[in-house]
Symmetry: D2
Subunit: 326 residues, 4 copies
């Protein structure tokens, strides 16, 4: 039974813990100090390890114990902290998240794009929420793409965060094009993509405005069918914003109201004069969770990409018809 | 088996449906038209009735059928619509929500305050989210109160709503004092209370700043103990805002991240010079759900107040130690 | 001396009144009723006319008097109201704003794009804030454009408005491409443009992410020079968001902090592989004011486009070097 | 001619520069580095001094030169920086702002409350925006007050600030009562006041909900008259929020749309059962500017309180009838 060690119990960490348990992995959690975010983990008696000595909690060991006890570590600490932790990860497989540089692991992973390359790897970076959403929607189209232009409208902070802004402004990324395009190329190197990004005062989700120049004409219905037959893409009709989309997942009873799928507004799908357009919604808190679980499966030798993905989707309550997994 | 007919499948309606099913009631839903909000209800095959003829859905009947088929109707439509529906509610018990006037039913209900009066009633109004929170926190103190002054800082709209504002302003209720004080007196007529209210640009929860002039001095610890031993009040320590409070309930795995309890910030509880102070958080979407379930129980003859409340709390996953229920 | 009759004293109306006075026009104002928005106009003794009989104000006449007394009417009422008012505008020139359809006047005006066509016209529509900004930035480039793709990130409501939302969501325009592209073609019919739009929770300004496919390569510096030498475009360096951009105009002492210019973030200007990119900011409350003043000048026979524009810019305190006006 | 040295050219600093010039003082500005905020000051050739050596600007000297060249220094740097600067202020009068502790200067100033005590002082702290508003509204009532309870609903960040939050939450000050009450007592020591505060996601203005227990009954009309006859209080009728209140000041043509007055919503003024209630709005960016100018006048020997205040009000365009100044 694989033991997954999660470092940092924040937005991503706590979700990987829950998904790992649901998958049948054992788990351990390493933290730097007590904060109220740990209350539920403590109540559930999850095994905790201290990265910083005595922290006033009943722990199973220190950071070296943690590394020794785990089979794979998923480092979910804030941007640039994993690079500091890295030298301590000896004799253990390691996953870092999309905030880190590709060069830290020299391998970036995203299930639909390059699952096969992850098999038996020792180090991997699971790409960011924004890149994950683009891997999912662009992979089925990839042979038809001349070039892609995406405007990313990013939420400012996560719902629990009261420190960051903006409160009443639009803040663009002024490096044009932005870094999001090149990041996609770590997974799908052949796609010609440019991206621009802005940050806006909302907490719920990112939204992408996508324009694809096609190599040759195609039909709107074919594009819609492609999305419908691709795992981890959900088309919703009649929805108007990130707010009612997220509410739908509350109603579905998803834990923490998570939306692992990238959601495409049906009405936004269009093909016109050789260009395809659509708008999709990215739940920054949870979209990468299935890819993290898949990555662990691959790193521990599961060679069957579609079996891995299908089972992860079933575990998380998001599976499509079996024919979609091929 | 009681059959609960819910009119309107919005914020309150959908939650009453779910809680009713969990309680063991049968349910039926009456709606005016299809909207995407119904998607999950349709998927789950809940019995739907049309209030307006043909609505493109597979329905179990019209509004008269609905009234005939149900034992009690909970009308969760928007403010002032229930009064229009009222003449059609013949030979059936009826509950309306706190947006309606007390005079519509001539009886207002809130479990901790006046459960007993609800027993075998035919019509009841379950008071609003704001009033419910005040009934809960003031009831244990009620014999010690000289007067109460509350400032209500209200969320502007629910999370799914993109139509209402304000986006970047504070909008006070200029009728001073506001109507919230008198509304409490429909449940606790002897409390001398004044309230003032403002609306602010957030969707998560209301927050109340409470100041109670006491008849005689008491200790902070006693106030804290009172809250700790009262059902449906939860004290959280180390939390800083409505955002991390709501995140705690996401982590608890509550459906839709609901927070049925009124949450008091531990650090805000204070008693000084004969005045008690605290700050509590009110989840406008879900706080009245347990009171609605209790109200149904009372209306159908359950005389044991604490049994009714305790069982509702267990059903909703929020029960305290049994000693608190007396 | 031209007498300008402004219908509606809201966001646009009050600014046209002020700019008209500064230009040396006489003014009159027609309103439907008293609201506090009129307080300053009343205090300044501006001539008011009632569109609806007795309104509790000291007025100079009714709507027919108003039409008779004015040389040109600028109808600044809400979308779709001008079409109702139109039959009453007899023997008077009329301007409507960009919310109205092109077909109402069969002529759309925007100074840099088609001033000449406005000369001696009797009816005109001054295009919307979004279109105005695109006319300004695309006109100098127009012979080099293969195609244009713009993502419009729109403010949700004006700063004074507390009714509209969203408060915490991103709401896309789901008709893809949006109507903004075709609207530009009423002024610049030869530009191949597609647009997509979203609404976000901020009040300050719209922001456009622009990508232009060029017919042939050009240099970043040349693009920057073009913007620098075009009236009504301002390049700002070191600014990060719509918030510090608008603050700059507060510091400049502009009345109401208005920003008549379209502002381009210098750092966002880029040319790469035959595509030009930039991000610009649009002050929805004031950007069309200079174009409205120019339009009046044209309608009353001023044939010298650059003289008209230059003088408007001087009146509004935004003139560039004289060489830019040609 | 008094030379006012302003340290820090942010929200308060830039306004004190402008008001000082309008008053007839000479000015100088000391800054730590270039930021785009200085663009307008540079354009206007204001004398700049560097606090940190070479900063790429044409400066009139270093920090010691600055101190030597000025008659009074107004230190408008961020909280806790003035205490570090203090040892360098030799042979010069000094004013700090309300973010600093009373103990730094051992004298706190607010014009309506204690102008006289400021005469010929060498060091003073001008109290914060929130305290200033309460000094103004409570001073005329002060002999009638039994006790005061205020809930402060604070804007989260200033309009130009994109870093701070919350974006979608209410964040209370959990120290109950908050520090705002004791701060008022540095000016009006005899008022029994308690305050509680929350931060909300808006940038425009703070809003206070005030409840005063009176020693004896009074009439609503008398309270309204008191406010009407007190300088620097403005009553507005028909307004609904901080948004339309601020818009009124945009329409008045105030530089930067500043609102030096505390604005009371007329409809909120009430007296009932021995308690007075009202709601007022505080423009955090500008309300303390007149008090700073008065403070300079007092420190340089102007003994006539009402003359000083009246003239400041005229300079800033906010004077009331002369009878109010006594």
């Amino acid at each position: 039974m694989i033991k997954v060690g999660v470092v940092g119990y924040g937005t991503i960490g706590k979700r990987i813990v829950d998904a790992s348990i649901d998958t049948g992995f054992k788990i351990a959690i390493a933290v730097r100090r007590y904060t109220p975010k740990l209350d539920v983990a403590i109540e559930k008696n999850y095994p905790l390890y201290s990265m910083t000595g005595e922290i006033g909690l009943d722990v199973s060991g220190d950071f070296d114990d943690f590394v020794r006890d785990c089979d794979v570590i998923v480092d979910c600490t804030s941007k640039n902290i994993p690079v500091e932790n890295f030298p301590r990860y000896k004799n253990v497989k390691v996953i870092v998240e999309g905030g880190e540089k590709h060069s830290l692991t020299n391998f970036s992973f995203s299930s639909l794009g390059n699952y096969e390359e992850g098999v038996n790897k020792d180090k991997a970076r699971v790409v960011s929420c924004n890149t994950t959403s683009l891997v999912r929607t662009l992979t089925p189209l990839k042979d038809r793409i001349d070039n892609v232009f995406v405007t990313l409208i990013r939420r400012s902070v996560d719902p629990w965060d009261i420190k960051g802004g903006p409160v009443n402004a639009i803040a663009p990324v002024l490096k044009v094009p932005s870094h999001h395009g090149p990041d996609l190329n770590t997974i799908l190197p052949d796609i010609n993509i440019q991206t621009m990004a802005v940050k806006v005062p909302t907490t719920l989700a990112h939204l992408h405005v996508v324009r694809v120049k096609l190599k040759e004409e195609m039909k709107r219905e074919d594009l819609k069918d492609m999305f419908e037959n691709t795992p981890r893409i959900k088309i919703l009709s009649g929805y108007k914003s990130t707010a009612d989309v997220m509410e739908h997942f509350r109603d579905l009873g998803r834990k923490r109201c998570d939306m692992y799928e990238v959601v495409v507004f049906e009405e936004s799908i269009n093909v016109e004069s050789g260009k395809a357009y659509w708008i999709h919604v990215v739940h920054q808190e949870s979209i990468v969770i299935p890819e993290n679980i898949d990555c662990i499966k691959a790193m521990f030798g599961e060679k069957d990409k579609w079996k891995a993905i299908y089972e992860t989707d079933r575990t998380l309550g998001m599976e499509k018809k079996k024919e979609c997994y091929k």
